[in-house]
Symmetry: C2
Subunit: 475 residues, 2 copies
Amino acid sequence: MGNAVGQPNDSLIAMQDLAALLKGICGEKFVFTDREYLLNYETDQTMNLRYPFDILIKPAFAREISEILKVCNQYNIPVTPRGGGSGVTGGALPVMGGVVLSLERLNRIVCINKLESYVIAESGVVTADLCKAVEEEGLYFPVLPSSGAYSFVGGNVAENAGAINSCKYGNIGAYVLNMEVVLPTGEIIWTGANVSKSATGLNLTPFFVGSEGILGIITQVVLRLLPPCLPEVQLLASFNKLENACNAVQDIKGACLSPAAVELIGKNAITMTAGFLAEPLPLVTPDVTAHLLIGLQEYHPDVLHRSLEKLVTLIAKYTDNDVLVAETTLEKEQLSKLRFNIGNAMTSGGRNYRDIDACIPVGALYNYIRRVEDICAGNNLSLVFFGHALDGNLHTMIVMDETQLAGQTPTLDKAVDGIYEYAISLGGVISGEHGIGSLQKPYLKWQFSPTQLSLMRRLKSFFDPNGILNPGKIL
Amino acid sequence: MGNAVGQPNDSLIAMQDLAALLKGICGEKFVFTDREYLLNYETDQTMNLRYPFDILIKPAFAREISEILKVCNQYNIPVTPRGGGSGVTGGALPVMGGVVLSLERLNRIVCINKLESYVIAESGVVTADLCKAVEEEGLYFPVLPSSGAYSFVGGNVAENAGAINSCKYGNIGAYVLNMEVVLPTGEIIWTGANVSKSATGLNLTPFFVGSEGILGIITQVVLRLLPPCLPEVQLLASFNKLENACNAVQDIKGACLSPAAVELIGKNAITMTAGFLAEPLPLVTPDVTAHLLIGLQEYHPDVLHRSLEKLVTLIAKYTDNDVLVAETTLEKEQLSKLRFNIGNAMTSGGRNYRDIDACIPVGALYNYIRRVEDICAGNNLSLVFFGHALDGNLHTMIVMDETQLAGQTPTLDKAVDGIYEYAISLGGVISGEHGIGSLQKPYLKWQFSPTQLSLMRRLKSFFDPNGILNPGKIL
C-alpha cells in the first residue's frame, strides 16, 4: 500500500500500482501524481476548502472512463469527477482522496443540427464556447450560468445549473434531450433520443440531471436549442426601501411580462461591490437600499418596447428614483457591472463566503430576507444578498474573513441552521441551483423525510454499489 | 384459492378473502367483484383488447392506496392502476388479472396558488376540469391532450402526455413541480417541492413522469401554470402534394414562429373523416392530399397577426389553394372539426386501429410517411396518418375491421415491424407520447441496448421488488 496523503483507507492497491494501471488506459502523459500539479485540483470555488488526493487523470473518451471506473471499482478507489471547478458547495472536491477525473479533454462540439435544433457536445466543453458556437449557427442556447466562461456544460447538467435568465428559460435540465453517461460500474449508455418527444421506456435522462456526479459521469450531452431573440434590453431601478423592491418583484410576476432576468441586489452587495470596483456606478447613492436589474429578451421589437414601458410604469409605483435603460452592449456592461462583480468583491481582500441559495415562494421574499438579516445580525455575521428574485431563489451569502470561514465557526453553523430552518418552514428548499455537494449534506434531513432519504440512498447504491463515484456528496 | 377468471396464478390468497381485506381498507361500497360491473374496467382504448380480472377497488386517499399495496404485496397480487382509461397502448389493461385500482375518487382540486402560479390536484381530476378551474383563476395550463375531456391528470403525468400544442409548450412532464406518489411497497412520498427551482438532493419527480404506472401510483400533482394568452387563432391550408406540406412544416420550424400546433392530416384521414361526418367540410376537395391545421397562441395582438401573415406567405410558396383563418370559437370549431373527428371516424362502422406514434427527426418527415405508406400498401393494410408534424411525432394508424385487428394478423405484425425498424434507423423512437404499455413491449429491444434494457428492468425491480404494480407493461 502506498503512503500518499489522502489515500483512501479501504483501497486495495498501492497508489503507484494504480497509477500504472491508469496509464495503461489513458497513456502516460494524462495520469498525474506530482503533488504540486495536483494542488490545482484540490479545490473548487467552495470557500477555501482543500482536499488532497492521489492521482489526477484526464481521459479523452467515454471508453477510457469506463475502463478507469472498472479498475477503481475493482480496487475500491474513490473517483471524483471534475468539470470546470466552479461549484460553491463542494461538488468537485475529492473529500475522500483517491482519483480526480478531469473532463477537460472531452472538449469537442460534435455537431450542431440546425433543422432539428440541437447541439451535441462533449461534457468538457466550456458553456460560453458552446453558446458562442450555437450563436454562430443562428441559434440560441439560453442557459449560460454566471460561471459560464469557465464552467463545463457537463458539470452544468450534473448540477442542473440555472442562469440569470432562468426565470424565463428554466434550468439547463429542461434542454437535455439525451446524454451519454458512463455508469459507476463502467457501462456506457445513452439516456434518451435526439428527437423532440419520447415516451419510450423509462426515461433515463433525468436520473442524471442534477445528480451532482454521484450516479454516473456525463460524457456527451444533446441540448435542445432555441431560435435567436433580439438583443437583450436591460433596466436598472433603485429603491430606498427593500420592501418596495420585493413588492415590485411580486407585481412583475403577476404582470405576464416574462422577463429574462429579475435580479434583486441588497444594500450590502451594492456597498461592498462599489467599494471593490472603486469607480462611479449607476444608481449607487447613500440612500439606495436595493437594486432591481431586469433583462428583457423578446422576438419582436413591439413586444420588447411595450414590456419595457409596462415595467417602467410598474416600477414607478414603488420608487421615485430614476430608472435606467440600456440597449447597447456598452450601456449594458455599465448597468450590469455591479451585479457581475459581487462574486469578485466577496472574495477580495482576504474575504470568502458561505454560499446559501435556498429557494422559497416568491410571496415570502421580503419576510425571508428580513429573517435572514436578523439571524446574521444576531450572530454578528456579514450578509450579502442578491440573485434571482422572481424565482424566489436568492443568494444570501455570509461573508467572512477567510481564516474565520475555514474554521466553520459555531456562529456560522448556527446562522446557517436558522436560515435553512426558516426557508423550509416557508415551503422552500435548501438549494435552488447550487446543489448539496459536500457542504450542505447535514441539512438534507431537514428537508426530506426518512423515507425520501432512504430512497435516495438506495438509488445511489443501485447505481454505484461500491460507492466509489463522487463519494461524500449529497447523501 | 378462488377460481375467478383471470386470477393470477401465483397469488397466495383466495380472491374472496382478498376482497374482504380490501373492504376493510376502503369500505364495503368501494370494492367490487360483480363480473358485469367489472366489464367496464376490462378495457381501455387499446383496440378491442379486453382482460378479465378479479377485484375493482376505488380508494379515495393515498393512505388507503398504501394499505392496498401492502396487502397486495403480501399476497403477490397484480395491481393495475387506472386513470380515465384513455390509453391506446394498453397501459391500463389488467393483463395479469388481479386487482384494478381506479383513481376516479381522487378527484379534488386541492388549491390554485395564483401568486406562485401552481395548481395542486389529486390524480383523478379530469384534465379538462383542471384546465377550466385554472382558467377561472386567470391562469393557463397548456397541456390538454385530445383525450382531456375524460383522461385524468395523474394518468397524463404517468404517460408524460402531449397535446396538440406540445410543439410550443412541451409535454406535461415539463410542468410537474412536485408529486405525491405511493410506492409499490406502500411508502408515500413527495417527490419535489412547490417552488420554482430546486437542486436539493436527487430529484425524484422525473422518475415517475412517463413511467406508465410501473414504479408508483401518483396520488397528487403540483403543476406549474402560465399566464393566459390571447384566444388562439387557427389556420387551415390544403396541399395537392404531400411533399409540399412536409416542406412547409420544415420551413415553419426554421421560421421562429413558435406556433402552438402544426397538425398534418393525410389524404386517407381526410377522406375517412369526411365520409364519417357526411357534411361539407372546409378545404375537402378531391385533389387535396394533405391539410395543415396550425394554431397560434400569443400574448400580443401584433405578434399574433404578424405571425399569421408570415405563415400565410410561407404557405403560399407550397400551395395555390386558399388558406382559411379562424378567429371566433364557431369558426375554429368548423376549421378543426375534421382533425378532432379522425379518432371517431377510425373507430366507426366496426373499425378499429393499431396505434403507432413513432417520433422521428422532422427533416425525415416526408421520407418516413412515404415508407410507411409503402409498407402498408405492400401488406394490403389501410393507413390513416395525422398528427404533430412539427415535432416529427406522427400518428400513423393502421385501420382494420375489428375482428381482423383482434387477431393481430401476421401482416399487421409485419407492417408494424417494418415501420418501427425504419423509424429507429432514422434516429427516431417507438413512441412520442402514447407510451409502450403492453402493446409495444416487443419493440423496446429494437430501440434500446441490452445495457439500457437491463438498467430499466433493474430499476423496476428496485421500486417494485415483487413486480405487483402494473405488471406486463413496458418491460
